[in-house]
């Protein structure tokens, strides 16, 4: 189980500061949720953490190794990335998609070894799409596509996974299934999410971004307060625990309703 640490990360485009002095940590197989309105910098932050963009200031560490000491290939052997809505025009089978996860372990001309095949099998089984492995990727539903992407990530045998709103475009059942699955992996995950209720339920720790800054961080219970949500999202909410399950519940109050109040 790996650890991701970001210290003092900043990033600007044309003097426009998109991320400002970000600190965060994810470790020990915990699921850390990254919340914030559109444009708050969630995707940008994930890109910096994945080494896809270079920060202007600050550092990222995987365990105790600075990100800049990794080659792309070596990093890909411990860190996997799941994007929100990828597409391909190639007619790939599900298994071929998952096999891409072995890319950082294979030589340029090496065929897949038996070990590679076993790892791919395990990833397919783990994400419960082994029965669809010979189907064409294009014929899958949105939920199945994301499970296949997660299987591809697992085939990288990662110690950490970064996920950028992986449940966008999924129906409720598939959102729940996906996050439930993530919780059983025991891999350190940093996941950008939109839905506050899902975040409250499935994340061990939350980091709230607004205008490129960390506004709050901590357990869902401590972070998700009506005041904070009003500040960040500009929406009034009721927060309570659902009586039968005891799960933290965020109820949105429509702006018109608030006005009457």
């Amino acid at each position: 189980m790996g650890r991701i640490t970001a210290t003092g990360l900043s990033w600007s485009v044309k003097r426009n500061r998109l991320l400002d002095n970000i600190d965060l940590e994810a470790h020990d197989g915990k699921i850390v949720g990254l919340l914030g309105p559109n444009g708050s910098g969630k995707t940008t932050l994930l890109r910096l953490l994945a080494g896809l963009r270079r920060p202007d200031a600050g550092a990222v560490h995987y365990d105790d190794t600075p990100l800049r000491d990794f080659t792309r290939r070596v990093l890909a052997r411990r860190l996997a990335v799941v994007e929100q809505d990828v597409s391909s025009h190639d007619n790939l089978t599900v298994r071929q998609v998952v096999e891409l996860g072995r890319t950082p372990f294979r030589g340029r001309f090496d065929p897949l070894t038996d070990t590679d095949e076993q790892i791919v099998d395990a990833a397919l089984a783990r994400t419960n799409i082994a029965d669809k492995q010979h189907r064409s990727w294009h014929t899958l539903s949105g939920g199945e596509k994301q499970r296949a992407q997660l299987a591809r990530a697992l085939a990288q045998q990662p110690r950490e996974i970064l996920l950028d709103e992986p449940t966008n475009h999924l129906d409720i059942r598939h959102q729940l299934e996906f996050l439930e699955l993530l919780g059983t992996l025991g891999i350190t995950c940093l996941i950008a999410l939109h839905d506050l209720n899902l975040a409250a339920r499935y994340c061990d720790h939350l980091v709230i971004l607004d205008h490129g800054q960390v506004i709050a961080a901590g357990s869902p219970e401590t972070v998700l307060t009506p005041e904070l949500i009003n500040t960040v999202y500009g929406v009034d909410v009721l927060i309570d625990h659902e009586p039968t399950t005891g799960i933290l519940r965020v109820t949105y109050l429509a702006p018109a309703y608030v006005a009457v109040d």
Binding site: R73, T103, R108
Partner: protein, 323 residues
């Protein structure tokens, strides 16, 4: 086998053993040649005309097919093809510039002019689509049309202002794509450029596979995306330019063959690249054989036939992309 068989076809009456032994005599393997050397005229026909032409068809077939395969992956666009993207137009502009404007002061041949023109138009195309950053297929193809029309317009201006009826006619033939000019000396240069380029491209098969879900996805799989892209573009530009300079504008083969091979062998580039190269070579050798024999003694430009086959194929791919 294809090489020998395709060399056979033609107006003169030659047997397969004649072809094999002529080739063996010329490469110094007289000892294992099945028959005595042929009369000088036939020998020259086989060795100086037919055989290099078949080899050139093979080399050009390989180059255009591999180029199409790579462009389709790098631009993430199933409609990418060197001809459609305007590279051939650039080559013709380069060729007329050398031929009629005397650029290079006589030190440049038509092929080197075409080679440079192809590289220039390829560069312009890449600049316009941000080195492949633009992934909208329609925009990539329209950019290709734009590049193609622009260079075609320059070519026309040069031809109208400086050309006479003769040079215009000869040039039109070249424009349509023909392998009739195959000779040993340029073939060796063209062939080596293509061979080196195609072998080097094979090193990037894992990168081409990883590009399927986009740049960031590939980078997250451990691919050095910038380096892979730059090398692939340079190598593709060189093999395409070499092929177009040697043969004119042979279109659609880079679209037709890779898609056909994908249907049979799947999208993995470790297999797709060598297999489509092989199929591309065989395909163009036979199409060219057909082009020079079907209406003998008249010869069809081979590009006309590839277009006849390729345009419907393009429509099919377009339909699949649209759905």
């Amino acid at each position: 086998m294809t090489i020998v068989a395709a060399t056979l076809f033609g107006t003169a009456n030659i047997g397969p053993l004649d072809v094999i032994s002529t080739i063996l005599h010329h490469v110094g393997l007289d000892a294992i040649a099945p028959t005595e050397p042929l009369p000088k005229l036939l020998d020259a026909l086989i060795w100086e005309s037919r055989f290099p032409r078949v080899l050139l068809a093979g080399a050009v077939g390989i180059a255009l097919t591999v180029s199409g395969t790579v462009l389709q992956s790098v631009t993430r666009n199933p409609l990418a093809d060197p001809y459609l993207l305007g590279v051939s137009s650039g080559a013709s502009t380069g060729a007329v510039a050398v031929l009629l404007l005397g650029i290079g002061g006589g030190s440049l041949s038509l092929s080197s002019g075409a080679f440079i023109g192809a590289l220039v138009s390829f560069g312009v195309l890449l600049a316009l689509i941000g080195g492949g950053r633009v992934s909208n297929p329609a925009r990539v193809v329209l950019t290709g049309v734009l590049v193609s029309q622009f260079f075609a317009a320059i070519t026309s201006v040069i031809l109208m202002v400086n050309g006479d009826a003769n040079s215009t006619r000869g040039f039109t033939y070249w424009l349509l794509g023909s392998l009739a000019g195959a000779r040993w000396e340029p073939l060796i240069l063209t062939g080596s450029l293509i061979l080196i380029g195609v072998v080097a491209i094979q090193f990037f098969a894992p990168a081409l596979d990883a590009f399927t879900f986009g740049w960031d996805s590939a980078a997250a799989l451990g691919i050095n995306v910038t380096a892979a892209r730059v090398w692939l573009m340079i190598l593709t530009a060189v093999i395409t330019a070499a092929a177009v300079a040697a043969s004119g504008a042979i279109g659609f083969i880079g679209l037709l063959v890779p898609h056909a091979v994908r249907i049979l062998a799947g999208p993995a580039h470790r297999v797709l690249l060598p297999l489509s190269a092989l199929v591309g070579a065989i395909f163009l050798i036979w199409v060219d054989t057909f082009a020079r024999t079907a209406f003998a003694p008249n010869e069809l430009p081979v590009g006309v036939i590839t277009a006849l086959l390729g345009a419907p194929a393009f429509a099919l791919v377009l339909r699949r992309v649209g759905s």
